[in-house]
């Protein structure tokens, strides 16, 4: 790899992926902090967390392909496997947690109802 400050197309693609992932994660965190009840918070968590992790990990995989060698390709495939794993388990975790909350009997926040806090 050439020494110096070169930022080629691969670096730009990976920086764009990582940057958008961080922005989506910021959205998810804002949702987690601001939404009124457990169910709406997990909407933000389940979606934002899955996509931001995917994007950032993809960015790492793309960056790692910057100098092509056999071992770097293997490492990128491993990072891609993390992506596949996250894509399957992210919604599953969301669903499991949601179901546990529903089974515990927490009421969900309604718009017109008076906004009492759910039981701790």
């Amino acid at each position: 790899m050439t020494e110096g400050m070169g930022i080629g197309p691969i670096e730009i693609v990976s920086m764009a992926l990582i940057g958008s992932g961080v922005i989506f994660f910021a959205g998810a965190v804002a949702g987690i902090l601001r939404f009124p009840d457990y169910y709406t918070r997990i909407h933000a968590a389940g979606k934002g967390d899955t996509l931001s992790t995917l994007l950032i990990a993809l960015g790492f995989a793309v960056y790692n392909l910057g100098d092509l060698s056999f071992h770097n390709i293997l490492t990128s495939i491993k990072i891609l496997m993390i992506c596949v794993f996250i894509f399957i388990t992210g919604p599953t975790t969301t669903h499991v947690l949601m179901e546990a909350g529903y089974a515990l009997g927490f009421k969900h926040w309604k718009k017109d109802g008076d906004q009492e806090e759910e039981e701790p």
């Binding site: 790899m1 020494e3 110096g4 400050m5 070169g6 930022i7 670096e11 920086m15 990582i18 940057g19 961080v22 994660f25 910021a26 998810a28 965190v29 987690i32 902090l33 457990y38 918070r41 997990i42 968590a45 967390d49 992790t53 950032i56 990990a57 790492f60 960056y63 790692n64 071992h71 770097n72 293997l74 490492t75 491993k78 990072i79 496997m81 993390i82 794993f85 996250i86 388990t89 992210g90 599953t92 975790t93 499991v96 947690l97 179901e99 546990a100 909350g101 529903y102 089974a103 515990l104 009997g105 927490f106 009421k107 806090e117 759910e118 039981e119 701790p120």
Partner: protein, 110 residues
């Protein structure tokens, strides 16, 4: 890492991720429900996995750190599911001892 600009960028990404994780920590500390805390811990776990890969990239040992990250992702998923299952089973036992109504028929009992 040879490229100074990219190293700065990666360190910036790491710091931003850490800051956002810290904000999620508020949700873990505050609750109010126990499942809120599990959800926050799950998110912190996923992002820790990303930070591991990031460390690997910065120190040029991705091949080693990626294995750790993969294991971390697996354990994180299993941990969240196990805790959620635990609460789920507690509810099932509570239902079985109190009124005997099956849990699946609505779940709105309080």
């Amino acid at each position: 890492m040879e490229n100074a600009y990219l190293e700065t960028f990666f360190i910036g990404v790491g710091c931003t991720l850490f800051l956002l994780m810290f904000l999620v920590m508020y949700r873990i500390a505050k609750g109010p429900l126990v499942i809120d805390r599990i959800m926050g811990a799950n998110i912190v776990g996923t992002k820790t996995m990303l930070l591991l890969v990031l460390f690997g990239l910065i120190y040029e040992r991705v091949d080693m750190f990626v294995d750790l990250a993969l294991t971390y992702a697996l354990l994180n998923f299993i941990g969240s599911v196990a805790v959620a299952k635990y609460f789920r089973r507690q509810v099932a036992q509570r239902d079985a001892t109190t009124d005997g109504t099956p849990l699946e028929s609505g779940g709105s009992h309080d």
